[in-house]
Symmetry: D2
Subunit: 366 residues, 4 copies
């Protein structure tokens, strides 16, 4: 079977650009997709970085003008991997020209912006890079929940701690400027927690939040916390911070239900802890399942059972599922509408933190 060539224009060549480049290179090695991604052009502001990125990953061309790249007729897919404030103009322009649009998270810098983006992007296949949904352990958590293995959910905890803010060398980039990032830890880290919560535990009905900036003079939040009530009656507790000294990349969730518990930690991404409360009392205990097969999500895509995958595979699996869905004309998540729902919660977090009160977060009807 001949595969259709997909010409990619990637806007941005930073760390996400590297992760996406690798995904484009690797997706067809691990997923049986009817497309052959062609790394056509990488766009950015810094020519030297672009040349280095192109040399490393084999991008055919470089360009410093994203608008031209987005409007090229030979381009099929536009991948947006730039600072948050640029997501909207690029993704919207790309969607308007009928390109397939992939966008980094958080989708936007405000709820209104996100909604406008989604309104346009709905016309084309679209994706938000909430890559952690495709960690096999996370997808397996969702499967166990769908099978009813947790029963009625009581508690959901989503926490993302790193220590980037405590390191003065790392605090001058765009992630620390409101004009470019929109938010601080909330957009960068908490958005991941929120997306996983919505994916695993459904809509959030209301919340009360606090944010804090530890560094003098910084205009984005260093930490953002909130307590919530989910539509399913469970209680949520969330925290994200760049001052979690001792934690490099601790993105965790924990769910207690009437029939069991699930625990995940990105620092140990090939495992999922599962406590089955229906077992005999004397052998009932949390078990650390190595989610590399057999019978786990993606176990036939990558290596053999017990051969761990790493960070980059979350992007490969996201892209693999997306291209499969595009080929089959099936729905794909997380898409721009999912990105809007995360933005709705982020906006409520900001609003609640400013007002010191609870805020309703009624999800949109779609």
């Amino acid at each position: 079977m001949r595969k259709r060539i997909l010409n990619i224009a990637m806007i941005g060549s930073g760390f996400m650009g590297k992760a996406h480049s690798n995904a484009f290179r690797q997706v067809a090695h691990f997923f049986d997709v009817p497309y052959d991604p062609c790394l056509k052009v990488v766009c950015g502001r810094n020519r030297e970085k672009l040349e280095s990125c192109a040399a490393q990953w084999g991008w055919e061309e470089i360009a410093t003008d994203w608008q031209t790249a987005v409007h090229r007729e030979d381009i099929d897919v536009v991948d947006v991997a730039v600072p948050n404030a640029l997501h909207a103009p690029i993704a919207t322009a790309a969607a308007r020209t009928g390109k397939v649009v992939l966008c980094e998270k958080p989708l936007a810098t405000s709820l209104e912006e996100a909604e406008n983006m989604a309104a346009v992007a709905r016309q084309v296949p679209n994706l938000v890079w909430f890559n952690y949904r495709r960690i096999p352990a996370v997808a397996f958590a969702r499967q166990l929940i769908d099978e009813g293995r947790l029963g009625q959910v009581f508690h959901y905890r989503g926490i993302y701690l790193n220590q980037s803010g405590n390191d003065p060398r790392k605090t001058t980039g765009w992630r620390y400027a409101r004009s470019e990032a929109g938010m601080g830890a909330a957009g960068d880290l908490l958005s991941h927690c929120i997306d996983l919560a919505l994916y695993l535990n459904g809509p959030i009905a209301e919340l009360t939040a606090m944010t804090h900036t530890f560094a003098p003079g910084r205009d984005v939040d260093d930490a953002a916390l909130f307590m919530a009530r989910f539509a399913n009656g469970s209680i949520g507790s969330f925290e994200a911070t760049r001052y979690g000294v001792g934690c490099q990349n601790r993105n965790t969730f924990e769910i207690n239900g009437s029939k069991g518990m699930l625990q995940f930690n990105l620092d140990d991404m090939n495992r999922l802890a599962f406590y089955d409360a229906t077992e005999a009392p004397n052998t009932r205990a949390s078990r650390a399942i190595t989610v590399t097969g057999p019978d786990h999500p993606y176990w036939q895509n990558f290596w053999k059972p017990a051969h761990p995958i790493g960070y980059e595979h979350t992007f490969i699996a996201t892209l693999g599922d997306f291209l499969t869905a595009v080929a089959k004309k099936e729905a794909f998540h997380a898409n721009f509408d999912d990105g809007v729902e995360v933005q709705r919660i982020l906006e409520a977090v900001a609003k609640s933190a400013a007002a010191g009160t609870w805020v309703q977060t009624v999800p949109a009807l779609r």
Copy 2:
């Protein structure tokens, strides 16, 4: 040296009565105290349980009338180990007669009640059984903090999860009745988190809380959560629940500071995790210190290094330190005034949860 005999009257013969009886029996074996506790009389409502308790632990007498016991001239110490609503009358009566007073936690069922108790108890040596302060790992955490090993504190997390509420067989006792317990998970579990937080991180300035009752018809909280700002500028996140399915006795704290991190979990009570951010980057990592010596709190009281102690030793160490302080006429904590501070936060939690707003929790000047 002859030891002075201390005649004890213990009010209550439940699980705490067992833990206290053991502490009275064992304290002189592990601590060099100038007293010889004599288990004089155990009081309660149920004669059969009293006889069983007396037979097991060697209480000389049993009594069903606590007032007579408390007023006996031969009694030196009154130990209050009954449901919360009875703490105030018994402890107050005992203090008024000049007895040494020991009281289970939470001190009271309201802030006002607690303050009244403390006002009376200040006249005599007094103790609140916040036993977890005396876990060697917890005391060592305090020592490291006092030495400045954490630097400026950014985040404090205190969480106590058990699953008692999800077990219908266990939910009919006094702990589930407002008239006897005052509160639910808040008084039972969250009070421990609050005491440790005040002990380790100082006063809480303000908080916003939520509480929830999962079980229909129950009149106490099953879960209580709050977010806080500490007086030292750090941010706190707290949760206690009886619906933490999968967790039997998970009482944890975690502190991130500019120079390091500490983590403790009661499920692994002989260990303290310490991350020292001042070390060389390539060998910097959290270390799970077995806090059984050498050079750890209480390491010469119990067994040799690497020979773990258990739950009961927290009571023994509390009593050992208390009797030592009494002998030396030194201050002891946690005392009734410390119990008041915990009650102040519990009251703010209830108030904030009802109002849905932030509440100031300015600590009392003493």
Copy 3:
């Protein structure tokens, strides 16, 4: 019911003397035994240490002549807690006078000595302090094995690592002198591994061993290792060392069978890891069971589920089971005959290490 008073003479007042004293004091608090141990006399060579021990634990008398103590008519029980070379004369004398005899491990300094001791001791109730059999997690492992949860056993690993030998301050005691200890790490540590292996996996048929002394001039082994074949067809791997730097008290076993795996580590003594190979592949994983109840060995003797016990409770449980067995005239293990079986393996280890060949270890018929 009136309890019978048991007058104890304890020979030795070192670390084991402390552990035994505590067991005598505590056994009736946790076990429903028809005896009331009376700490009559503690014997030893150093009067100052004896007085300190007596003061701390309430021994009524001290004595420096064990022979007189052992022959006193008012003594019911002789407890031997002295260096290994003295086990035989004291235990034998005590058994000959009809006393109940308790003896520290290893039972003797040679197989012949052990067999002679057992021949005499069989006339009276007797016990060897292989206390780790009574760790709830270990007793539960035995229960799971007896229930067939492991299926056919393939592999048994028993390892005991500490770092005492690497610490020059600790190497001058009797444990480092052949004349007093008989062996080094083999008697001190490996004997525990062997006893647990025989208890959990049955007789050893043959073995090949190596021993090594790292410290110049020391006349006992610092490390002892062997490979073995068990009578049940499984393969064993054993190691004990005092040069396991980084390990304070790591006494572990691990068993792989056709239906599952068990893992235990004394450093985490309230837990047992169990892998059930008969479960569904995608949720099959090792689970760390907290063996504090419900439905676990000793869970009703000590505290509530999830309230950990410590090192000392292994001695209390050993004594509790022993006194119960004595009262019911039932068999008790580990007794002197069990001590002989451990000695048989230790002797084979020494013989094999010297010869560099495999040695048969056919267990005695009893």
Copy 4:
């Protein structure tokens, strides 16, 4: 800079063929090597599997005759990823024609065969795929050892446990036939332990071994164990088994030295536990270092610190280092001579197991 194209012929298209294909595809994305690998031809016996492999990874051609492929003038590199018994003829033929030769482990099915292979291969750049040396945590262990952080080594333990043998569905492949594999668990698993031991702790002087086959009728070992003395005076303990039920891919080493301890487990491959015995006693404890940077081996090749890599990256790093060494005409390890040293130990294991005695394993002088 133009890169030189390297035409690859890969012999074998099984699991290792997949891992190698990925390494050829990815090496230039993560390592700055002056070569551009071209996946020219994949050879094997099964045309259908070859077509599938070629389609997945982009091999330009397939071939069922390895001899023709090996002798093609346009081929620069021959990669041998076939059952062990075929390593010698293919690798030798390739080396004789002057090709760069890469060979899977174990190098051969006998010491003599391995020595003959090495004699020929020394004429060309050559590599044995002992990929676990390139796990960052393992390479970092070597670095710490080289820096003297362990002091004098006392104990080395190398264990590789999986459960493949206990699964009847998996036991019919070439790995279970002596004619194709030469050995069972010894060649498959123990060879990895031996290579790491020689890499980390130097030559083995003597050993005594046992092997066992649990499955009736199977002609290779299911388990192989040995005890050893290293040339540096330390003691070794080794075990490999396919009946380690409960363990999927547990390849561990543990080293105790006078100044510290190291522990590694392939099941947690991004971490290395390090105990530094020179630290203050009260904060001395094993720390689980996440070896993903900063300042760790390969941390600038893959992702950012705390972004884990997986199984496949061990092959990429091996190839990256090899191509770098080839370009710089520097020595590379593990090469065929290193493969010989592993084979020397494997042969001694077989010999000792058969004879039941210790065997000298004096390393060859080179």
